[in-house]
């Protein structure tokens, strides 16, 4: 996937006047807002038709979606809570994408990160909570980072397809988790729901004051902004994008491609590992099979919809969080099955991907002639 963000270079055939140049620049930037917005509106329209086929009123649908996702303060918190893990897991796909790698194993990194973070917390015993939390975050990020680095290493040193290997590593991570939770790490009192021991209420990370949204949301935003700076405003990021554009050229000009791949994959996995840490430290308090809730897989969708741009990941994650939040209301008020939300997600995904072909073709955005 190309890293195609920022204003495209204006064609330099004829020197445009200053006014025209500004128009082109604004028009180009506007494309990245207008086209996804049109795609979103189109998919909502299609979904409305789909719902109408079931004899439901599409206006009801839009109203309940709005109400469930953004209509009340409670709905907003619901949306942001759901968005928090998605920002981090989306980065797990978006970062390696800069190198032209398609990593879809964020779920595995999330699970391993949750395991390493929990192991660290349980090993620390009665240390001060802040210390435990910092160590947990570090351990979770290292665990997740190493997990995705495995895929990067296999790709670079052995030529193994990273998409396949990262996906297969998800199943290995799940098996490792089940083995540890049902075996060596099992809390003997967790009879019918095998789980690890609890990390302790004191070590739990709280919520953002005045809200129900846990701190994972803030960490996600920080991670997304840092990723954006890393990719678009550092030498490392530039090198990564060069390697992503053409790996031979990158090697020719002497870039350490192997190092780029390993570090990027580590950072990607660290983001997902942090998501896993937050699921333990802010929500579950322990590791058990509940953690495999598919956040890693939803993250792939977010990353692709955001066109692999770390900043765009934030609003897209909030959008998908909102769709998730409104899903319950659609079930309860309109009697739609749970799968209808998946239909909407699929529709958005397809329409946004199809809208890629519109870039540079919408005349009214290009020539804002006086």
């Amino acid at each position: 996937m190309k890293a195609d963000v920022g204003a495209p270079v204006a064609p330099a055939a004829a020197r445009p006047s200053l006014r025209e140049a500004i128009g082109l620049k604004i028009g180009g930037a506007a494309e990245y807002v207008v086209i996804p917005a049109l795609a979103l509106a189109a998919s909502l329209g299609l979904f409305g038709l789909f719902v109408a086929l079931f004899g439901k009123n599409p206006l009801d649908l839009y109203f309940y979606m709005y109400q469930g996702a953004f209509g009340t303060w409670f709905s907003w918190q619901n949306t942001l809570t759901r968005a928090a893990p998605l920002i981090l897991t989306a980065l797990c796909t978006a970062l390696p994408a800069q190198l032209g790698m398609v990593i879809i194993g964020g779920e595995g990194a999330l699970l391993i990160g949750a395991l390493t973070a929990t192991s660290a917390a349980l090993a620390m015993g009665a240390a001060p909570p802040l210390v435990v939390q910092i160590v947990m975050a570090g351990a979770g990020m290292i665990g997740g980072g190493v997990w995705i680095m495995l895929s990067g290493g296999l790709r670079h040193y052995r030529g193994v397809n990273e998409t396949i290997s990262s996906l297969l590593l998800v199943y290995i991570a799940l098996a490792v988790l089940n083995y540890l939770v049902e075996g060596p790490m099992r809390d003997p009192t967790s009879l019918n729901k095998p789980s690890t021991r609890d990390i302790g209420a004191a070590n739990m990370i709280g919520t953002i004051p005045g809200t129900d949204v846990h701190w994972g949301f803030v960490f996600g935003i920080v991670a997304a902004v840092l990723s954006y700076i890393l990719i678009y405003h550092t030498v490392f990021g530039f090198a990564a994008r060069v390697a992503g554009g053409n790996i031979r050229t990158a090697k020719l000009v002497g870039l350490g491609v192997g190092k780029l791949i390993l570090i990027t994959c580590f950072l990607a996995g660290a983001a997902a590992g942090l998501a896993g840490t937050m699921e333990v430290a802010a929500v579950q308090g322990r590791v058990n099979a509940n953690l495999a809730a598919g956040y890693g897989f939803s993250g792939i969708l977010v990353a692709f919809l955001a066109r692999q741009n770390p900043l765009a990941v934030i609003p897209i994650a909030i959008l998908l969080g909102g769709i998730g939040a409104s899903g319950g209301l659609l079930q309860r008020r309109l009697g739609l099955p749970d799968a209808s939300v998946l239909v909407l997600q699929g529709t958005i995904f397809l329409v946004v991907l199809a809208s890629d072909s519109l870039y540079g073709r919408l005349g009214f955005l290009r020539r804002r002639a006086p």
């Binding site: 207008v34 469930g68 019918n192 699921e279 309860r332």
Partner: protein
């Protein structure tokens, strides 16, 4: 300025949509009504665990003044907390049934602390004294119904080989497995039970593979303990084996092969709870029972079930319903030869030792780990 026009038109449409939506009646519960919320971890029509609860919820819909709201496929994460809050805040629910085992800790407990005026009822029997008083947990001794299935299976098997497709080797599942073979051995002392663990609650592919492999080994009656028995029932019937159902009545899936089955009876329990709630009585925080309390039941016998099987099964069922029958009565040894319940010891329905079961009794082929 074509684009501006489109935008304005779309803008107008959107405004109209929002305005219209806003004027729609917000189907909120009226003050006189009681709204009850049900949350399922899987789909409502899974022929299994979730359908059993949905049938219980459906039984409430005919009660006057009761409004039921339902949400399915809610994972055991923060999502379920938000679903509970959404039902409370947006639907005005006063009584909630988060039905999946994993919803309890930490999710339902957290919500029970946050909303002390709302009543929470969880399926799993997990409530202890230190938990909030507005939270409750109920469960049924379904091993009693499984025991009846076992008796019928023991009579109907020709090969003497029975099969059990199980999710995880946890106490609840092991208790059902053991109860099934103990029932079968009443009819056929030489009966064996081959158990296969799939590793998780909903693994249709593995469940189908396990069923096929059991039939390949000569097993002719199969039962299961997974969230949705549909796969097992249909595959077993297709391969010519007979089946005992679980969770709900699956006889419509395989009328020729369905002997009987162990079912939940939430259709009786939920109206009972809701009546207590609307009458202002306190629902007991910890509520368990079996056939006697009508929390579980047995599917009607299939046409192929013989007279001897019906007689013995009905006999034991009558004793269980009267409350004077013990399934786990010593001497019982496990399948490694170790005595687990000594001679003369009776472990009745409510014995806490049974909650910690970690063995498979003699006659079961398989291992807990």
């Amino acid at each position: 300025m074509r684009f501006a026009n489109i935008s304005r038109r779309r803008m107008l449409q959107t405004t109209a949509a929002v305005a219209l939506g806003g004027s729609l009646p917000l189907s909120r519960a009226r003050a006189a009504d009681t709204t009850v919320g049900f949350i399922y971890v899987g789909s409502r029509d899974d022929y299994g665990y979730n359908q059993a609860h949905a049938q219980g919820a459906a039984a409430l819909k005919s009660m006057p003044g009761i409004k039921v709201v339902e949400e399915e496929k809610v994972p055991e994460t923060e999502a379920v907390e938000k679903t509970m809050e959404s039902m409370i805040n947006l639907d005005g629910a006063k009584l909630l049934f988060p039905t999946s085992f994993g919803y309890y800790n930490p999710h339902m407990l957290k919500m029970a602390v946050k909303y002390p005026a709302i009543r929470f009822e969880h399926c799993g029997g997990l409530w202890t004294e230190k938990d909030p008083k507005n939270a409750g947990s109920y469960f049924g001794y379904i091993d009693e119904s499984v025991h009846i299935s076992g008796i019928v299976a023991g009579h109907q098997t020709k090969s003497g080989k029975l099969g059990f497709v199980a999710a995880k080797p946890i106490p609840q599942v092991l208790r059902n497995i053991n109860s099934f073979i103990l029932g079968a051995q009443l009819a056929n002392p030489k009966a064996t039970l081959q158990v296969i663990f799939t590793g998780d609650w909903s693994m249709p592919v593995k469940e189908a593979e396990a069923t096929n492999s059991l039939v390949d080994q000569g097993v002719d009656v199969i039962t299961c303990h997974v969230d949705g028995p549909k796969t097992v029932v249909e595959n077993a019937a297709r391969r010519g084996a007979m089946v005992c159902g679980y969770h709900v009545n699956q006889s419509t899936l395989a009328p020729q092969a369905y002997l009987t089955g162990a079912e939940w009876n939430w259709e009786v329990l939920y109206p009972r709870f809701v009546k207590m709630f609307t009458n202002g009585e306190t629902i007991p925080n910890f509520y368990r029972g079996g056939l006697k309390e009508q929390i579980v039941k047995v599917s009607p016998y299939g046409a192929m079930v013989g007279e001897a099987a019906r007689k013995q099964a009905d006999d034991v069922k009558a004793k269980l319903t009267a409350g004077d029958y013990v399934i786990f009565k010593g001497p019982i040894s496990d399948n490694k030869g170790k005595m687990v319940i000594a001679s003369g010891i009776e472990r009745g329905q409510k014995d806490p030792e049974l909650e910690k079961m970690d063995y498979l009794v003699n006659g079961v082929i398989g291992a807990t780990s």
